[in-house]
């Protein structure tokens, strides 16, 4: 007779302990974000009082710059790291709450236009990145990860694809580093180009949502331009995020057909697993706001909660970006990513101009 031993599943870290561990980092996010907000309010006023010419720098940029300064000088001590890594959580909660500021009709109208643009952007970007990867003789799975990261939604797409196509850890960290470095560059270049070209809030928001890879950086690049552009960038980026399951599924089937990844069993379950649930949350809050579940003051309160969540996110974007770590990953994937990003940025800008002409914006 077999001896049956029941081994309870060991929980490596208790939830309460896990919660306590993130507190220092979350407090750091709040401190950096709030410092950014104070700098926005005070630096401008100080410069004005002393008759200095000083550009009006928004809290978004201050928070990112402060985070970058800490991360790239003294570094983020170990005690803060797990809390700082929660910035993606705040981003997603912020996007859901932002849904209260969108009426369903606007989402359907803008979402419909952006869905068409997103589809064109994804197909064009995947094709171009695949071509570039082959040209630079990158490993095929590394090329796939870079293509998905640039075309769909940055780090989340790379992580989802890595699991689905059995890619190496090294390939995924290369791709993530390249996408994050390029996202950081986009934060500073997109608003400058947008102002140079005198883009409207709508055109710029569409462009940032289509052209910047990572959701946090796309939201920040939008918010750096204007509040309206930030709102639209989040909507367009969420539309891109919603496509993640389909793209990852297509690549999983492709690599499985080559015998280099596990076959996908239940495709519907696969799509549901990969689908970003915060997009559904965003839509649901928007439906509730459209049908007056919240009054005007409550919508205002939800919008402010969303701003606070984004404040933590923007601080986290800076604190998580370490340029020397990125340099260690090597130049070739970065070069492929950089060339790809420049072409994708130009391509998406042309798409936005084309859409503007068609819809008369």
């Amino acid at each position: 007779m077999a001896d049956v031993i029941t081994v309870p599943q060991v929980q490596p870290v208790q939830p309460a302990l896990k919660f306590l561990r993130v507190i220092p980092g979350v407090l750091l996010l709040a401190a950096v974000g709030y410092a950014g907000k104070l700098l926005e309010q005070n630096v401008g006023a100080y410069a004005k009082a002393h008759h200095w010419t000083f550009p009006n720098i928004e809290y978004v940029l201050w928070a990112i710059l402060l985070g970058l300064a800490i991360s790239n000088t003294v570094g983020v001590p170990e005690i803060f790291r797990s809390g700082v890594a929660t910035y993606e959580f705040w981003l997603k909660a912020g996007i859901v709450l932002l849904g209260a500021r969108f009426l369903l009709g606007d989402i359907l109208k803008l979402g419909g236009v952006s869905l068409v643009l997103v589809a064109i952007e994804i197909i064009g970007s995947l094709a171009f990145m695949t071509f570039l990867g082959r040209l630079f003789k990158l490993k095929p799975k590394l090329t796939t990860l870079l293509a998905v990261g640039s075309a769909v939604c940055g780090v989340s797409a790379i992580i989802a694809t890595k699991g689905a196509i059995d890619a190496d850890d090294e390939d995924s960290s290369f791709s993530i580093a390249a996408i994050l470095a390029l996202g950081a560059l986009a934060l500073f270049t997109f608003p400058v180009i947008g102002h140079f070209l005198h883009l409207s809030d709508r055109a710029y928001g569409l462009w940032a949502g289509l052209g910047v890879d990572n959701t946090a950086e796309a939201s920040a690049a939008g918010a750096l331009y204007s509040d309206a552009a930030g709102k639209l960038a989040v909507l367009v980026k969420s539309t891109r995020n919603a496509m993640i399951g389909f793209v990852v599924l297509a690549y999983a089937i492709y690599w499985a057909s080559k015998g280099q990844a596990q076959a996908v069993g239940n495709k519907a379950a696969f799509l549901w697993e990969k689908f970003p649930k915060f997009v559904l949350g965003f839509l649901l809050i928007s439906v509730l706001a459209t049908y007056h579940f919240f009054n005007k003051d409550q919508v205002g309160a939800l919008a402010n909660l969303s701003r606070w969540a984004f404040l933590l996110t923007f601080a986290g974007v800076g604190l998580q970006t370490n340029f020397s770590n990125m340099r260690k990953q090597g130049l070739r994937p970065f070069a492929v990513g950089a060339i790809g990003e420049v072409v994708i940025a130009a391509f998406t800008l042309a798409l936005v101009y084309g859409a503007g002409k068609i819809f008369g914006w």
């Binding site: 077999a2 001896d3 049956v4 031993i5 029941t6 081994v7 309870p8 599943q9 993606e88 959580f89 705040w90 981003l91 997603k92 909660a93 912020g94 859901v96 709450l97 209260a100 970003p276 649930k277 915060f278 559904l280 949350g281 649901l284 809050i285 509730l288 579940f293 919240f294 003051d297 409550q298 205002g300 309160a301 939800l302 402010n304 909660l305 701003r307 606070w308």
Partner: protein
């Protein structure tokens, strides 16, 4: 004599993803605003 050991995992609980957790927290906050617990959120 050989002893066959069968390992049975127990206590597997539903663990929400980061995405789901963010949605739940956002909805909880929305509920607190709706019910008047948070009347005014400054910015």
């Amino acid at each position: 004599m050989t002893t066959e050991v069968e390992v049975v995992k127990s206590g597997s609980r539903w663990k929400p993803s980061l995405d789901t957790l963010a949605v739940l927290v956002a909805f909880l906050l929305a509920l607190l605003v709706r019910t008047g617990v948070f009347k005014h959120v400054p910015w």
